[in-house]
Structures are given as C-alpha cells and as structure tokens.
C-alpha cells in the first residue's frame, strides 16, 4: 500500500488537481472565480470548468484553507488562509523532493535559487 503524502492528507490531491491549483493561484493574492480560471490557465495550462472550480472552492473553504473576502460585487473573491499557506508549502516541498530525485536520476541541472526562495517564503508564513 502506498504511503499517503502530506498534501494528500490535506486533501489537495495530485499536482494538477483543482485544490492545489487554486491554492497556488491564491498565494499571490485574493481572486474571484473568473480571475482564478484565467490565472490557472496562464501558469498551469489547465482550463478548469465552472463545476470543478466551485466544487474545489467549496471543499477548500470547508477545510478552512481559503476564505471569502468582503465584496460589494456578485463576484466573490477568495483569499488563502494561514492553514492554506501551510498546506501549499507542504505540497510544494513534496513536489520539490520528487523533482530533485527525478532530476538527479536523469542527470538534469535545475535552477534551484528562485524555487528555493519561493519555498522559504512560503515556509515563513507558518
């Protein structure tokens, strides 16, 4: 039986699954539904359907990983919470560990300076 990773335990799923994509998008600031889909399309090349997006938003809100921010508009923005940042940081660390192993086995050289700084920043949020 495979061992569950930290991000899987937090219910974020695999790397390209909606919860992780949404948390990654919200890490740069609050966004509403449309802005989220556009941002995710830009950085991950994944086009989330409206059902999948709001299903994931509901689950993340239930787990208190994101929360709605006050708005006068019908477009409800969401922002990442402290627990959300922690869950995302764990997920990023896991992905980093996996990519390091993959890179070393393939003999690839990855630029680590920027990635390391981003992960360090995420860690500070804890």
């Amino acid at each position: 039986m495979s061992k569950k990773t930290t991000s899987a335990r937090a219910g974020l799923g695999r790397n390209n699954e909606p919860p992780l994509l949404i948390l990654t998008s919200l890490a740069s600031g609050a966004k509403h539904g449309y802005a989220l889909t556009k941002d995710i399309e830009t950085f991950a090349g994944v086009s989330l359907g409206p059902g999948a997006l709001y299903g994931a938003i509901a689950r993340l809100e239930e787990r208190r990983l994101i929360e709605p921010t006050p708005s006068d508009d019908r477009r409800q923005p969401y922002c990442i919470t402290a627990s959300g940042r922690m869950a995302l940081a764990d997920a990023v660390r896991e992905m980093r560990a996996l990519s390091d192993v993959g890179a070393s086995r393939l003999g690839l050289r990855l630029s680590t300076r920027r990635t390391g700084r981003v992960i360090a920043n995420l860690g500070e949020a804890r």
Binding site: H32, Y34, G49, P50, G51, L53, Y54, I57, R74
Partner: protein
C-alpha cells in the same frame, strides 16, 4: 430570457443550500466566461457532474464533513434506495420465472430450486426488515408531525398514498381480467392485455419511486434517537445481505436453467435480444441490471455506515 436568467437556469441542479452560498459567484463566473456565447457542452457536463456530487455530498453519502449520525442515516437511506431497485427487479424475475418448474426436467430441479428459494426467502426477509425499520420510525414521525412539521412532508406522503390507492385499484382490475383469461392469453396471446399489463408495470415502478422518495424525504427530517439510528443501520446491513443472497440466488437459478432448461429461457417473456444468446432474455437482463445497480448503491451505503456503526461514535 435575460443573460443572467440563462445562467441561473444552468445552476438549478445544485442543492438549494449550495446555491445560496455559491450560486451568485458561479453565475458571475459564467457571465464573465461566456457572455453572449453558447456554453460549451464540456462546461455543461462539468456543472451537471458537480451538481450531482454536491447533491450526494449534501445527502451525507460522501465527504469528510458529515458527522457519524449523518453517515448512519445516509448509508441506511442509500441501502433503502438499493432495495427499491430490487423490488422492481424482483417483480420482473417473479413474473418471468413463475412456471420454471413445469419446464425443467424433474431430475434437474435441485440447483434451480435452491436458487429460486434463495431469491424467495431473501425477498421475504428484506420485506420484513423494511417493515420493521418503518415501524421503528413511527414514534419519531408522530412527534415530528405533532410538532407542526406536517406541512414539510405532506406533499410527498399524500402523493404516495394517492398513487398507492390507484395502484391497488388497477391491480384489482387487472387481476379480475386475468382470472378470466387462459395461460396463453396472459403470456403474450392477447395484445390488449399485454398493453394494460405493461401500463400496470409502469404504475408499479412509479409508485415505488414515489414511496422511496417520500421515505427519504421524511426520514432525513426526523429526529431519531441514538439507539433507533443504530438499530436502523443494523437492519440496513441485514437488508444488504438479503440483496447479496438475491443476486446469488438469481445467478444460480439462471445458470442452472440455461444448462438444464434453455428452452424455458428462450421461450420466456422478453426473449430474443438482438446479438445475444437465447439464454439471455431481455426481461432477465433488465432484472439483472437493476439488481446489480441496487447492489452497487447498497454497497456504497453499507461502506458509509459500517465504520460509524463499528466505532460507536454516535452522538446527538
């Protein structure tokens, strides 16, 4: 219809509480994304799928958010839904197989008889379990109705009662007619009787669907005591076991009849499915499909309630 109305209509399948919370945001997203364009099929499918998932989640059948009580209740009700499929499949099977012993050589009766008895006995056990479970909820229902909540369940209950009375009258009429007909006329020889019989089957299915819907509606609203909920869950597991026995009995009967009396399956009601063997008559294929569907629903329900029942973590 305005643009907003068009998008409002698209979210109508989601549960009311969900729509209240996320509906406006989702409509705004749809407006921003599609404007005056047609919404692609992929997006429509994504929304329908999500609406179904949210309904199942609200029912308490999936998701970590549901408490132990909700899990027990949702699991038991899912098993009841599975049983409704078995009621329809069982009626179909009973009609098809009613004269099997006359068409099967006596020396080969043992196996099909064992299968048939399994179906019959498990069916009786299932009906008794459902009646006992229904009787256990009567005191809670009485308190619920006296507490001024009758209006919230009146419509489904009245509808089911009316449908039940109509079905009884229909059944009496068709039985009276059938009494004066020969065996051949009752089994495909007289087309007006065939048509009325098919209508009667539709009426049975509709009444069962209404009754199951009413049972779900009422039971979800009842304030059930801890012990009652645990007993109902235990009974639901017994009902699941009865469904497993019915499937096993049907498979045994079907397999042994296809070996010892294939002509009975070939000449039975609903035989002659295109591209299938003659031992796979349409009527039995439908019954088998409904049984497997019902079993799937029941297993999902059992998987949901069993852990909560084992851990004794029910709290009110």
């Amino acid at each position: 219809m305005t643009r907003a109305d068009r998008f409002e209509r698209m979210i109508r399948w989601f549960p009311p509480r969900w729509k209240e919370r996320y509906g406006a945001g989702m409509v705004a997203l749809l407006e921003d994304t599609y404007g005056n364009e047609d919404v692609p099929r992929r997006a429509r499918f994504s929304m329908m799928r999500s609406a179904l998932i949210e309904r199942v989640r609200e029912f308490g059948l999936i998701g970590a958010g549901a408490g132990a009580n909700e899990r027990l209740r949702a699991g038991s009700l899912a098993i009841l839904c599975g049983w409704a499929c078995f009621m329809i499949a069982g009626a179909d099977f009973a009609k098809f197989s009613e004269h099997w012993s006359a068409s099967t050589p006596k020396q080969h009766h043992a196996l099909p008889k064992l299968g048939y008895m399994m179906v019959q006995d498990a069916g009786v056990i299932g009906v008794v379990v459902v009646l006992v479970a229904a009787s256990l909820t009567v005191p809670s229902f009485w308190r619920f109705a006296r507490g001024g909540n009758w209006s919230s369940v009146r419509r489904p209950l009245v509808l089911t009662t009316v449908a039940g009375i109509c079905l009884m009258a229909f059944t009496a009429g068709i039985a009276f007619w059938a009494y004066g007909l020969s065996n051949g006329d009752r089994n495909g020889g007289l087309w007006p009787y065939e048509v009325v019989f098919l209508l009667w089957c539709v009426a049975v299915v509709l009444t069962l669907v209404l009754a199951t819907g009413a049972a779900l509606n009422v039971t979800r609203q009842l304030d059930l005591a801890k012990r009652t909920l645990r007993t109902l869950s235990g009974l639901a597991l017994v009902l699941s076991a009865a469904m497993v026995a019915i499937v096993a009995g049907t498979a045994l009967w079907w397999a042994s009849e296809s070996i010892y009396a294939p002509h009975f399956l070939r000449d039975g009601i609903g035989s002659g499915v295109v591209n299938s063997s003659s031992t796979f008559p349409l009527s039995l294929v439908i019954a088998g499909f409904l049984m497997l569907l019902g079993l799937g629903i029941a297993v999902t329900g059992a998987a949901r309630l069993a852990p909560s029942l084992r851990r004794r973590e029910v709290s009110l």
